[in-house]
Amino acid sequence: MTPPIKVNGLRKVFSSAGREIRAVDGIDLEVTKGEFFGLLGPNGAGKSTTIGMLTTRVIPTEGEAFIAGVDVVADPATAKRYIGVVTQTNTLDRQLSVAENLEFHGRYFGMTRRDAATRSEALLDQFKLADRRDANVAELSGGMAQRLMVARALVHEPEILFLDEPTSGIDPQTRLALWEILRDLHAAGQTILLTTHYMEEADALCERLAIIDHGKVLALGTPEELKSGLGADTVITLTFAEPPDALLPKVERLAAIDHVERSGDTTLRVYAADAEGLLADIVILATKAKARVVGASSQPPTLEAVFLALTGRDLRE
């Protein structure tokens, strides 16, 4: 079966003021039908440019991309009928009402007036917007506007739903509500590609992830695969009053420890495979070495840790 998304060696170089910026630097991807796929990376990693190329808004410098088997460069007009896009910013039609936004979208995609109206009513119900159907879109709250954007992207039943940083700058409650909606869509079989720089979001929603930085895919797999790739099932974070220089080699010699990272002057991150009682052992060791522990935690590894291990940088920087 034709995969909804197939990408080979995709590259985009922007030139500005004589400088070349490689926004996307050779990406290969394949998203299968019904999959919830995530592009995780910090701001400026190339996620939006990648989505731009897949949604025909950005022309690749090199490489190829297919949407439902259609070449997005050779035949963008046809590729567009298979995609639904929720952009970062509110792009609702301010001149039209809530319901009209959905109806006209359907008609842009060749639906008859009656089909578009029926589909719009169903979506208004599904996205709890029915009582605002005649409202001007400027009167909607941020959460409602976003639900309408998602509903609009679904009117023409796209093969793939793209969401570009849908929860950036959104309050936590609205974010959770959107997660709920996306989970339901995924459960109903919708193929989804989402970009985010929130690792919790990627972890909570995506079946498979590509971690992206500087336009390159650094790692690809399920969140579990990526996390277990660290070679540890526990990450112990310890913060000391002074730099624990003398302590570091002693900790590294403990059994069960995969590796230890310094983060800043006074924090250690200990990656361990079998952490039973390890935190206590380290604290005892520290007490003996007269290194005062001011904070300690033990957690399963996060995608944050995966990103840190891959790039040496924090995702939030």
């Binding site: 922007f14 567009k80 792009t91 609702l92 006209f104």
Partner: protein, 282 residues
């Protein structure tokens, strides 16, 4: 292709889908125009109403020279104004209906990002804006026409004579597309903070030097200006309207003005569509 999984709505061929999308875009514009009809009429009516009122009514009443009948010979000023004001109304719509909304859609509302995701070539989205602008321009001409015919002082009736209705329709359609193409060109080239400049740098010189208030041939005493204004597309629109509506007033050769309008429209439209695509697809 995975045609079995596709919804019925997307099974149509590419060109059929593009045509349907194009029609739907126009229907959307019509819906929006219907909602804003009062605003449309107001913005269309005010300028010609005030112009004819001051120049064809007040001026003759107070004996002010330029409103007079030119010493009893030649056309009345109201006759000169009819084709000119209709031409202005048309070019204004190009800016009001195409350029100003487009500047917004590119900047504040970013709506254009959604509109170009319709399953059609990007340039066709831009062309839809031109067709919508042209329709509104023609509508504006019909709104303005009775006003410029009716508003004048006693004895200042404009002498309008549509000898060739076909020529009038042709001029109207051409002028409407010229105005809307100019609108698209401006809309794709201007940043939101430059909008006030549209009026002082483009609209004002174009209208004052667009042979609205005087036939082109009367510029004989200022030869350099007579040829300089030929870069102004509004000159051809006014002169073409003159040949269609008030053929007795001296005007440029019909063939020449029509050719000039076709040429200018084609040039502006191709430039505007190219620029439109550049701004949408990077």
């Amino acid at each position: 292709m995975t045609s079995t999984t596709l919804p019925a709505t997307t099974r149509a061929g590419g060109s059929t889908l593009a045509r349907q999308a194009f029609v739907a875009l126009l229907l959307r514009d019509v819906r929006v125009l219907r909602k804003n009809l009062r605003q449309f009429v107001l913005r269309t009516v005010m300028q010609p109403l005030l112009f004819t009122f001051v120049f064809a009514y007040v001026f003759p009443k107070i004996g002010q020279g330029i409103g007079g009948a030119g010493g009893g010979r030649g056309p009345s000023f109201s006759t000169v104004l009819v084709p000119g004001l209709i031409a202005v109304a048309i070019i204004f719509q190009g800016i009001q209906a195409v350029a100003l909304p487009l500047v917004q859609e590119f900047s504040f509302t970013k709506e254009i990002e959604d509109r170009v995701l319709a399953p059609m070539p990007v340039k066709l989205v831009g062309f839809g804006k031109v067709v919508n602008g042209a329709m509104q321009a023609m509508l504006a001409a019909f709104v303005v026409f009775p006003i410029v015919l009716v508003v004048h002082a006693k004895g200042q009736e404009p002498d309008v004579n549509i000898a060739n209705p076909l020529l009038f329709v042709l001029v109207l359609v051409l002028a409407a597309f010229l105005g809307a193409s100019l609108g698209l060109l401006i809309g794709t080239a201007v940043a939101p903070q430059q909008v006030p400049l549209i009026f002082s740098i483009i609209v004002l010189p174009m209208t004052l030097l667009g042979c609205i208030y005087f036939p082109w041939s009367t510029l004989d005493p200022v030869p350099w200006l007579k040829y300089a204004v030929l870069v102004n597309p509004l000159v051809y629109m006014s002169e073409a309207m003159r040949s269609a509506l008030t053929p007795d007033v001296p005007h440029m050769d019909v063939g020449v003005v029509l050719l000039a309008m076709v040429g200018v429209t084609a040039l502006m439209l191709t430039q505007a569509l190219r620029k439109f695509r550049q701004r949408v697809v990077v």
